[in-house]
Amino acid sequence: MTAAPTTTVATGVKHPKAIRYLDIGGLILTVLTVFCAVIWAFPLYWAAITTFKPEHEIILPYVELWPENFTLSAYYHVIFNTKIGIWYVNSVVTAVSVTVLVVVMGAACGYAISQLQFSGRRILWWTILASFMVPIQALIINHFILMAQVSLLNSWLGIILPQLIAPIVVIVYKQFFDSLPRDFREAAVIDGANHFQLLFKVFLPMNWGVTTALAVITFIGAWNAFLWPFLAAQSENMMTIAVGITQVSDAFGIYYGRELAGAMMAGLPVAVLYLLFQRRVTQAITLAAGIKG
């Protein structure tokens, strides 16, 4: 992170032609970028378009980029013959709960470590920092035993609880709160505000971007979580959508269209949310990452 090495840039080629040459290069780069993006998105397009084809068109021996006979029967089948509705509910409930709890707990703890003096503060901070890398996945056995002891397996709470360990959220909040000028806090303290008001009325609103970013990332993580919900949900009625579409077969053999229709429905809600709020999501994450990096 030293000064930018502006002086070391190669010199000598000071031709006006060079700039025109660069423009052509730029055009090629743009075309290449678009090409790569199309390739990158193609699997999603291909999966999506497959779901609208009747089964006999799906297994054609050549590539059919658009269905000849458009059908919704795969979706009809998934909606009426699987418990996808219940899986949605389970996914929404668990992902939202995890997000809210992780962010609120992380903000509160980050605020305390950043702004307050209390004994054990340094130890707490170092413990959290040290556990940043620790693999939660290594604890599946003990989480399973623990949740079994309190009879929470196969319940929403049992799916939620082990997903709440997110030291990184505390770390990010702490660093953001550290970077705020101390005058804010002192001014508010003189006004007689307590720490809870300070946190929720001053610090959090001032860091709305960070909160959005952390919430979005946590939500995506929880919505997509596979390993733990896969272990914790025992019955079909408790499965989240990410688990359900791979664990329950519908006893009518292999139908690619139906499998993929289930997949599309699992991915759709978050995809739509992302596309709607794309700019804000991108901004929030880049902002949060920018300062961290």
Binding site: L44, W46, M105, V134, N142, I165, L227, L260, G293
Partner: protein, 290 residues
């Protein structure tokens, strides 16, 4: 506000996190260590067996395969994934306005999908009979390939899918880094007539290095914990051959009902990740970062 009320407030604020942390992290970790010295099933009591599990671990062929496969997967994903992410970020960063949004969306969208969706999509892409990817594979190899059934193809294919799936986040981190580089530096370089490659080598690369380190770190931790994709793509196949560490924990404890031995494998993973963290920390310190 006096000192006492500050301490009280602090304790109240940290209480939820600390409670969850102790109950769901510290305690299970200690219990994992204890369990690794027993022959307990997944649920229920076991007997103290001393170092028996550890002796067994060192003679366990599948464990060695799992360690090897995990490292192999890390090698296949971490550096290539980071480079691809940087490349895409550089391409996207050049664009402006709606064009940038659209292109970025195309690259970012896979990241928000559940792994099961990614699995179903790519399983269909690579399907040996009807998979569209076979139109690319067949001319090169000479015949369609069952990529998720052949040992040589499995890990590279899963790595490819993983990079496709998780790269959106890396791209955003790189974009953030690129936007932090002040435009004046580029303008100065342009005035001096520096070529595209020279600008990248002499300006972008050194300035983006801290972000690169961040992305490498995140990727490394993430990929060492690989389970989901490997598990799903190896369903119904030859799990022993394509085993990775977290999957072996799962297999021992949940499939074979060997909680004690599963905990031993888990402890080994713990140690490996801590060793990596320490090594990385030292490496960063030596470079003078942070």
């Amino acid at each position: 506000m006096n000192r006492r009320s500050e301490t009280t407030a602090a304790l109240l604020l940290i209480a939820p996190f600390v409670a969850v942390y102790c109950w769901l992290f510290i305690y299970p970790t200690l219990q994992m260590v204890y369990l690794s010295f027993t022959n307990a099933p997944l649920i229920g009591p076991g007997e103290w067996t001393g170092l028996r599990n550890f002796e067994r671990l060192f003679g366990d062929r599948t464990f060695k395969i799992a360690v090897w496969n995990t490292f192999y997967f890390v090698v296949l994903t971490v550096v290539p994934g980071t480079l691809v992410g940087l490349g895409i970020a550089l391409m996207v960063n050049r664009l402006r306005g709606w064009m940038q949004s659209m292109i970025l969306a195309a690259f970012f969208l896979p990241f928000i999908l559940p792994v099961s969706v990614v699995y179903l999509v790519w399983n269909w892409m690579f399907d040996i009979q009807f998979g569209i990817a076979q139109y690319v594979i067949e001319p090169i190899v000479g015949e369609p390939v069952a990529v998720f059934r052949q040992k040589a193809w499995f890990m590279p294919a899963v790595a490819l899918v993983t990079i496709w799936w998780t790269n959106g986040f890396n791209i955003l981190l790189f974009l953030a880094g690129l936007r932090n580089i002040s435009p004046e530096i580029y303008e100065a370089a342009e005035l001096e007539g520096a070529g595209r490659w020279a600008v990248f080598r002499k300006i972008t690369w050194p300035l983006i290095w801290p972000v690169t380190v961040l992305v490498l770190t995140i990727q490394l931790i993430l990929q060492l914990k690989i389970f989901d994709q490997v598990y799903l793509f190896s369903l119904g196949g030859r799990t022993q051959t394509t085993m990775v560490l977290v999957q072996y924990i799962f297999q021992q404890a949940f499939v074979n009902n060997r909680g004690g031995y599963g905990a031993t494998v888990a402890l080994a993973l713990f140690v490996i990740i801590i060793a990596f963290s320490v090594m990385q920390f030292q490496a960063l310190r030596l470079r003078g970062e942070r």
